[in-house]
């Protein structure tokens, strides 16, 4: 069980209110991702849930029991830190066993659980090493191992992959997703990488300056972003925003169109411009188009084989059903 409810939770550091009143419910077994730009209060929110910070006001309930004043150790949550926070002087085995030793579990049971966790995480060969003798990905797995042996009600991850290189990150992402499938325990995952958010989450919580901008499944956020901020934050490369005459014609202040929803051609289309930088990813190519008269740059995503060069004339046609309209306050229309 691991249903976490935040009820009008606020947090201030001195006079600075980092989290204004915030309501959120995380359902049991859900993989929830907090995303938002740096400094928006993701870590603070996670630490409030963990109990490492005290709330300034409001209530946190875990499984409908008030946990606001319960110390971190007794909330039944496990946390994986960005720096891993492994105990450097203990072997991997002792690191993983630490929470169980603190819970005064008996030896045999500790050994059984450590072995089980190690085999799940492919750490069996490293049990007698110190954290200093492991690679980044292995350390990350030890940190996760230390979290899973406790069989917590929920896992909290604070940017666990941000210290890893790109390839390893993709691998660990899959491992964590698989772990979630297997354990079906509630997981709260903080990241500022929207690809991680999109690929892993059941539900994404987009935060800005402590406010929840939108909550929803990855595809909901992708298809119907509630405002300009979410529209710009979710999706890579960023959505194109077009203001002015074109937007006014359809009754909006800003028009949004994602790069992948624009078709390109060298003969003719609705819009045209000059190709600036093009980024070839192999499977796709991103063209940054200037001089369209719509916005400073329009980014388009085309097939990898489409071969426009710097300075070429390019014609573009947006998919009409994939246009997003926003009003002057930045809120979605329709």
């Amino acid at each position: 069980m691991g249903r976490i409810t935040l009820d009008k939770v606020t947090k201030s550091f001195g006079a600075v209110e980092v989290i204004p009143p915030l309501d959120l419910t995380i359902e049991d077994g859900e993989f929830t991702v907090f995303v938002g730009p740096s400094g928006c209060g993701k870590s603070t929110l996670l630490r409030l849930i963990a109990g490492l910070e005290d709330v300034s006001s409001g209530q946190i309930r875990i499984d409908s029991k008030d946990a606001t004043d319960v110390p971190p150790a007794r909330r039944g949550l496990a946390m994986v830190f960005q720096s891993y926070a492994l105990y450097p002087h203990m072997s991997v085995r002792k690191n993983i066993a630490f929470p169980l030793r603190m819970a005064r579990m008996d030896r045999a049971e500790i050994d059984r659980r450590v072995e089980a966790a190690a085999s799940v995480l492919n750490l069996t060969d490293y049990l007698d090493r110190r954290p200093g003798q492991l690679s980044g990905g292995q350390r990350q797995r030890v940190a996760i191992g230390r979290a899973i042996v406790r069989e917590p009600a929920a896992f909290l991850f604070d940017e666990p992959l941000s210290n890893l290189d790109a390839a390893l990150r993709v691998g660990m992402r899959l491992e964590i997703s698989e772990l979630h499938e297997r354990l079906t325990t509630t997981m709260i995952y903080v990241t500022h990488d929207q690809v991680e958010a999109m690929t892993m989450a059941d539900r994404i919580v987009v935060l800005r300056a402590g406010h929840i901008e939108q909550v929803g499944s990855p595809l909901e956020l992708y298809r119907t972003p509630r405002n300009l901020f979410v529209a710009g934050f979710i999706g890579s490369p960023r959505m194109n925003f077009i203001e002015g005459e074109l937007a006014r014609r359809v009754g909006a202040h800003t028009l949004g169109i994602r790069p992948e929803h624009i078709a390109v051609s060298d003969s003719g289309g609705e819009w045209s411009g000059t190709v600036g930088v093009s980024e070839h990813l192999g499977s796709d190519t991103m063209f940054h188009v200037h001089g369209t008269g719509l916005a400073e740059t329009i980014t388009v995503r085309a097939d990898g084989e489409v071969g426009f060069k710097h300075g070429d004339r390019i014609h573009m046609t947006p998919r009409p059903d994939a246009m997003h309209r926003f009003d002057a306050a930045g809120l979605r229309i329709g």
Partner: protein, 288 residues
């Protein structure tokens, strides 16, 4: 520094320092060794020729020798125990955010800047004096008989004085070590269900082990040769005659340079035994 060329260049550049240090060490050492084999009584005829091992056997067979070794070890051990334990406590305390932190930290470090002679005099006259000392007044205020510290409890008194001097050093080093501890480790331990005492025992103390080793090794070097504090207070009486003080008495009070030099060689041996022990016990903390 990996190539052969740069290594030999490094050796060349280090040579002057090494030679200077060697000379600095070797000249007095050889002179001590030389005198220890001579019968040398400056006021009673000067250098009276070869003495063989007589100085060595006389120094050890003197009834003052073993008690002096014992006194030395008790002082070193006592001061180490007090400074390390209190140092850890103080460092933990100073690490907490509190009002007036900067001033408090400077105050804690202050004793280290007081010269040993001065601090011993201050302790002797202002605190431990059986008539005018602060302790005497305190005892009288509670209706107790004042203790004459430096004669009734001379060794503990000296340990107290020396500890007071070295506590800031230990505190300072341990404080910097505590400050270098990753906060997330403590938070992780907290989430893992470790109460404060267990966090101290399983996380903070192992983290401090290297700093404690450094404190112990450096302090031992200086504590083996404690002198001013004894000279100013008890003059070696009441069981406070350490090996260093015994050598001083042999050389200056009995005017026997040869005997004193033999004592000096014993002091070197003692220091090495102590160092060997320490390296065995705590030295493994260093190679990590």
């Amino acid at each position: 520094m990996a190539t052969r060329h740069s290594r030999s260049a490094a050796r060349l550049m280090m040579a002057p320092a090494v030679i200077l240090l060697l000379g600095w060490m070797l000249v007095p050492l050889t002179m001590t060794l030389w005198f220890s084999f001579r019968k040398y009584l400056p006021l009673r005829g000067g250098d009276l020729g070869w003495a063989g091992l007589e100085n060595y056997s006389r120094f050890v067979s003197s009834s003052a020798f073993w008690p002096s070794v014992q006194a030395t070890l008790i002082i070193v051990g006592g001061v180490l125990a007090i400074t390390v334990c209190l140092g850890i406590l103080l460092a933990l305390l100073l690490d907490q955010p509190m009002w007036g932190q900067g001033v408090v930290r400077i105050l804690v470090i202050a004793p280290f800047f007081v010269m040993p002679t001065v601090s011993a005099l201050v302790w002797k006259n202002m605190f431990m004096d059986p008539v005018n000392g602060l302790f005497a007044h305190l005892f009288k205020a509670f209706g107790a008989e004042p203790v004459s510290w430096l004669s009734q409890a001379a060794l503990p008194s000296i340990i107290l004085i020396v500890s007071w001097q070295w506590l800031p050093f230990a505190t300072l080093i341990l404080l910097t070590a505590i400050q270098s501890l990753d906060r997330e480790q403590l938070e992780a331990a907290e989430m893992d269900g470790a109460p404060p005492l267990k966090r101290f025992w399983h996380i903070i103390l192992p983290h401090l082990s290297r700093a404690v080793t450094v404190v112990i090794l450096i302090q031992t070097i200086f504590l083996l040769s404690v002198f001013a504090e004894i000279f100013v207070t008890t003059q070696g009486a009441f069981g406070t005659r350490t090996l260093t003080y015994l050598i001083f008495q042999r050389v200056l009070e009995s005017q026997n340079v040869g005997l004193g030099s033999a004592g000096g060689v014993y002091a070197i041996i003692l220091a090495n035994i102590v160092a060997l022990f320490l390296m065995r016990i705590v030295g493994k903390n260093l190679d990590r």
